[in-house]
Amino acid sequence: MKFVQAEKISLFIFFLLLSAVPTARGGEIEDSQTIGLFTGEAPGISLSPIPRPTSTIAENVTVITADDIVRLNAHTLAEVLQTVPGIQLDFNLRTPSTFTFFNIQGALNTTVLVLIDGIRQNDFNQNLASPGLIPVQQIERIEIVKGAASGSWGSALGGVINIVTKTPDPERPVSGTISGSLGSRLTSDTLGELSGTRGRLGYYLTAGHLRSDGLSPNTATAMDNLYGKLSYALPGNGTVTLGLSHLDAQPGMDEANTARWGFVHDNNANSRSYGFLRLLQPLGGKLNLDVEGYATARSDHTKFGGRNDQGAIAYFNDYDVRDSSQGLNASLSLGDSRNNLVSGVEYVHAQGSLKDLLSADAPSYDRTWDRFAWYGNGSYSIGQLTVLPGVRFDSTGLVGDQLSYTLGLTYQLAENTTLRAYGAQGFSLPMLSSDTGVQKVRTIQGGIESGAVPYLWLKATYFFNALHHSESAGQVVVTNQRRQGFELEARTTPLCGLSLVSGYTYLHADNSDSGVRLQTDSNQTVPPHLFKLAVNYDHSDLGLRGALTGNFVKWNAASDTPASSAGMIWDLHLNWKPSPLSALSPELFGSAHNLFNGVQTTNTDLYSNARRWYEGGVRLKF
């Protein structure tokens, strides 16, 4: 109790300090200031949540930038996703890099396609991409599409997380960042970046090492990440880029508490590698060619075990999952941001296998297949109305041929207000391990986004998804489902450097055959209420920025499911550059996680939250 009071007092002092900060600014010249000084009017709200004009996006999209990531002092994608409205981690943030499921508006991440540099990061075994195994240091932007996106992306019934990596610094021959942090249980994250352009050649290189003794049972971890990109500017404004990425992780190295039935290591050896060669070439007029060849390789070991009669550790299984792929994507785009057409083809040759190394049985599967796809989509604007059709044909090589299509409409009602509607049919591949047949979805979304209310940006989205043959995780169950609800988002314009960001998602999911409402259990996660809150602070003159983030979830758990959602989970992140005007000033940063020891997990037997923990560090850009 004393701790809680102390934390509350600390928070109060923090806010007091923030409110006492002068509101003046300098440094870079900002247009809002210039306009304000010349016209005597206060600066207005800026609508910039998406990388394209808001008036030509029909889907419910959230964009996270590199600045947002730095403000959160995030280590991996998992910490970033937890702050996005509509997204909930099953095992709310334990040690960075450890495994978690997540869902987007009730769609499990086995149906969410995760791409980096256009390359699929989901495995083929369960179609999972573990967000804890995606470091964020090389990320420039994350675009999150909520809802079926198969018309553009193929197997993406629940949504897409498209990660765009940083490009070489075009201004300087050498620039970079070094950063190091240390926290509770010797949790440390060390990374370095080098970036620059010499003549036509640009480079971006990064390396990082994350380790921890484990902030919750069984989550000691070590993760090493290397990423490099070389780009060469061709005559005729073309660019060719070579990228290489390799990651090794050993989360769950320790052995502590066990579940009643035994224990599971978080995948205790993961390896991820990919490389790509990409050509972007204008072909004259508004025609552009984009060709990318790539190769990937993944392997995951997962051990299950328990204690034998003598109390010693004994393993039951050591699952070795491997997959690799070699592919080619090519697309032609024509037009500009308002009127355009994109058409492309994709080919991939893939291999996948699953073998229990502790069993004499044959592999559960060991197969190769080829997938081919063609897609076309575009946007056509007539005045304030934009029509966005899309169609895609997939020859999956696993579950036959699939046709997906989308039709989006946006209408710019006023300068700061856009109406949007979106309908789509999409699919997701089944898990290779279960092979239960293709999952399908029909989705409808509609909403409004507006900055018309002074000092506020508001967004409301209604969604309805009819799922056929939806495949659960855990013990695989196939059902037909309806998932519908709404999402409300609000953001205030900064006042004294402070701004509020919030998001609420309501979800009603039921079995469309029986009409029974679905509950969160070991097979699925369908939280009816999800609330995100963040207080962001930016004051460039003082070199201060920070965020206080809160997460609330109500699981609607089945009675036999040991889920817990006790209160909000609060995290505080602060960054301070003592000499903000100096180009070489170091930035000190620190985070206090789970301030009030909240618990949000779908399974308290297996995965408990990390209790309150702290970390601090310094980063230097040069």
């Binding site: 870079e28 010349f38 998406i50 808001t54 075009p170 201004e171 029509v387 003159d541």
Partner: protein
């Protein structure tokens, strides 16, 4: 399926029919200030334009847009736009409505424009007419050292004294203002976003009131706050100036040959009530008011 194919073919035909614009207008954000300037630009340059408003995007990928659209010229409206277009190295750029044009490093070969700084001589001649000799100026050398250099030279020639206080942070402005008490008989407010912010602006006019000294400023919006005189820049005319520059570039001039120009049409505005309070002769007030 037929419907989808029909839609795609229709889009293809429409998209193929579109042609690239000669001028890509990169605008920091939506503002009537920028719209006025753009109106003037269009009236002076018949070239086709396409506008990209940066605040509509998280990342506008400007270099890619320029690569794809290949405009003959980029018009940057605002400092945000100016920062964004620095990555463009070959296409000529005209910057407008930005305070940072004279500071813009590295890309000067393809950059020119019209800035927002009225020539110092014009300000100083006003100070001379109101018989001010010691003129207080607060500025950030990182932003306006170039302008102060010109101002000092002009003041020397006109027999005026500039009492200069430097700031590197807006928080220092109030203390520096305080240090001018008794040391100046007038105040010159510059468009320097470190020295003057929305938060510190009022302090200049409170200082003027408490010290009973006149303020000459860069915006007519400051008259109602208590400025005696202000230069009002005609934004449409500013755009026309840029439009004429664009025409020169289209005719073969190189951006490096066209110097960054000050605004050519400015109007002096006067706050009669302040003038009366400071006891300026009625004829002098009338002469300003006529202008």
């Amino acid at each position: 399926m037929r419907m989808a194919l029909f839609l795609i073919l229709s889009l293809l035909l429409v998209a193929a029919g579109a042609s690239a614009s000669e001028v890509l207008v990169v605008q920091s954000q939506r503002s009537p200030m920028f719209e006025d300037a753009l109106k003037g630009f269009r009236s002076a340059s018949p070239a086709g334009t396409r506008t990209l408003v940066l605040s509509d995007y998280t990342d506008a990928e400007l270099a890619r847009v320029v690569r794809e659209e290949r405009p003959r010229l980029v018009l940057a409206l605002g400092d945000g736009a100016l920062t964004a277009v620095r990555r463009i190295r070959k296409t000529p750029v005209i910057a407008l409505m930005a305070l940072g044009i004279p500071l813009s490093p590295g890309s000067s070969d393809n950059l020119t424009g019209v800035d927002l700084f009225v020539r110092p001589e014009q300000y100083l001649s006003l100070f001379k007419r109101i018989r001010a000799r010691r003129i207080g100026v607060i500025h950030d050398p990182a932003k306006t050292a170039w302008y102060l250099k010109l101002a000092r030279a002009a003041a020397n020639q006109m027999g005026l004294e500039l009492v200069v206080r430097e700031v590197s942070n807006p928080r220092q402005a109030l203390a520096q203002l305080d240090s001018l008490k008794g040391a100046v008989d007038s105040l010159w407010v510059l468009p320097d976003t470190t020295a003057v912010t929305m938060e510190t602006l009022e302090a200049y006019f409170l200082f003027s009131q408490s010290q009973s000294i006149p303020v000459i400023s860069f915006s007519a919006a400051h008259l109602r706050l208590g400025a005696l005189l202000a230069f009002d820049i005609d934004r449409v005319e500013l755009g026309k100036q840029a439009g004429e520059m664009a025409q020169q570039l289209f005719r073969g001039a190189q951006p490096a040959e066209l110097e960054v120009a000050p605004p050519r049409k400015v109007t002096i505005r006067c706050n009669d009530a302040v003038a009366r309070r400071l006891n300026y002769p009625a004829e002098l007030i009338a002469s300003w008011s006529r202008k």
